[in-house]
Amino acid sequence: MGILVFLEHHGDELQKGSLGVLAKAASLGDDVAAVLVGAGVTALAAEAGRFGAGKVWLCEDDSLDPPTPQPRVDVLAQVVADGGYDTVLFANSVLAADVAAGLSARLDAGLNWDLADVESRDGDLVGKRPALQDSVYVDVGWTSAPRLALFRAGSFDAVPGGGGAPEVAEVSPSFAEHSRGARVVDQQLEESSGPSIEDADIVVAGGRGLGQAESFTLAEELAKALGGAVGATRAVVDAGWYPYAAQIGQTGKTVSPKLYVALGISGAIQHKVGMQSSNAIVSINKDANAPIFEFSDLGVVGDVHEIVPKLTELIRARKS
């Protein structure tokens, strides 16, 4: 298997998600290469080597720095041809999804996306794809090469494998006419007012167990300390404690962050279906019989008013 990993960077940092995929690729044992496109990528090659890339293909080009997908399809198609890769892996992002799908059409190559994992089985690759709100996993495969796989954000930890300096190759493909059509004319980097609920890695949600609207500051402070977003249950939105935009559940938003902290939430199914595929669920509730404890990774029976301020303090202390 010759595996190629699409690496993303922002400024002078490689994106953790794609590094995780690179590390996973390296663990599959075969020779792994990475491709980097944009400005300042030459300087990042060594880092890619540390995370498992034996070879790094570079398309150093300032004009390609804006995150438009189609030129990257041209680059990847060229690299796949030049390097004879039979597998291309992507970590999900707004950009990567478009690149992967475009490449699929360019090469008529099968793409399995929304994968949580992949394994090598009898010399072949099998992808693991969660379905029906993560209640079931589907094994998916490819019927031809190259195989394209798009992994859910955060599926793998970015663990450096201690690899040495990678072989470096330059690629300068010819770009299709339509690839140069879309141009970024302006970019506004967002002030960290906190991530949106759907994109946040961490969500702290409050329910009726908080007792009153004023107590929502507990959730807000904790979210700030953790760098997460604040969510709310339907009950508290109905009661006017928090806006509808923050409502998580069947008739609100669906989220699947890395960490979901539920404060004073009973866990009725209407809420559960909006957050049950969160990677880790921590809940605090006074009622030992609250249904939420049945699907929490860590359930704490206790008073949010006592626990949360202490928790927020400890986290702030830890981060500084």
Binding site: P69, V136, Y137, A176, H178, V185, L189, I315
Partner: protein, 256 residues
């Protein structure tokens, strides 16, 4: 201006996986994918009361006509359904081929997609279709304006906003933040039945049977499995140390 909107008929209510085909059970009631409603709405806003045309295009079983009718009821002018047994079981490669063939026939100035499908089957379709049509593609559009043979999109990314321009014809996937889809009016619902609805086969599109359906796909579904166990759920009572216990847990899971 001619705008084509790709829409999907998705299973409604609680979904099930059919244990035979290992695919989503689509035999029950279905509805217009609600993310596609945003795309239809945006197309209708761009056309306004002018003399442009909004065509909705879909690939699916016969009952997908219901979803197309809903789009017509919202105000779309015409509907095209590609319905052919040979297209069943199409993956991204096969679906994008079929849709691209249908869209090529339309020669629209702008092709719109909804950002996501609630059944997660169409989630990356637009970029593949754009590639086959050889058109620029922009996704995650939260604002879209068109004029002078080009478009302008404001899109949401993980880091903030980008503003992108592209020449028409182009393909755009709109996010659900772009608008609030209108309810079809009663007049709209009643008028929908009179609007033109074409049903095409693969043959009508010049797509060979080997290029669609399972034959034309490059991925396959192998088996259903249990999700990995939610390893070691713990429940503790606060004895004054709960906060520390939580921090330890978060550290252990490398969440902080």
């Amino acid at each position: 201006m001619k705008i084509a909107v790709c829409v999907k008929h998705v299973p409604e209510g609680s979904s099930r996986i059919d244990s035979g085909s290992k695919r989503l059970d689509r035999s029950g009631e279905g509805a217009l994918n609600h993310f596609d409603a945003n795309a239809v709405e945006e197309a209708l806003r761009l056309r306004g009361d002018g003399d442009g045309e909004v065509v909705v295009v879909s690939m699916g079983p016969e009952k997908a006509a219901d979803s197309l009718r809903k789009a017509l009821a919202m105000g779309a002018d015409r509907a095209v359904l590609v319905s052919d047994d040979g297209a069943a079981g199409s993956d991204l490669v096969a679906t994008s081929r079929v849709l691209a063939a249908a869209l090529a026939r339309e020669e629209a100035d702008l092709v719109l997609f909804g950002q996501q499908a609630s059944d997660a089957d169409g989630a990356v379709l637009w970029a593949a279709v754009a590639e086959r049509l050889q058109r620029p593609v922009v996704s995650q559009a939260m604002e879209l304006s068109v004029g002078d043979g080009s478009l302008r999109v404001k899109r949401q990314t993980e880091f903030g906003y980008d503003v992108i321009e592209a020449p028409l014809p182009a393909v755009v996937a709109v996010s659900d933040a772009i608008n609030e889809p209108r309810y079809p009016s009663l007049k709209g619902i009643m008028g929908a039945k009179k609007k033109q609805q074409d049903v095409l086969s693969l043959g009508d599109l010049g797509v060979d049977a080997t290029e669609a359906g399972e034959a034309g796909s490059r991925t396959t579904v192998l088996a259903l499995a249990e999700p990995p166990a939610r390893g070691g759920a713990r429940k503790i009572e606060d004895d004054g140390n709960a906060a520390q216990a939580i921090v330890d847990f978060l550290a252990e899971k490398r969440l902080i």
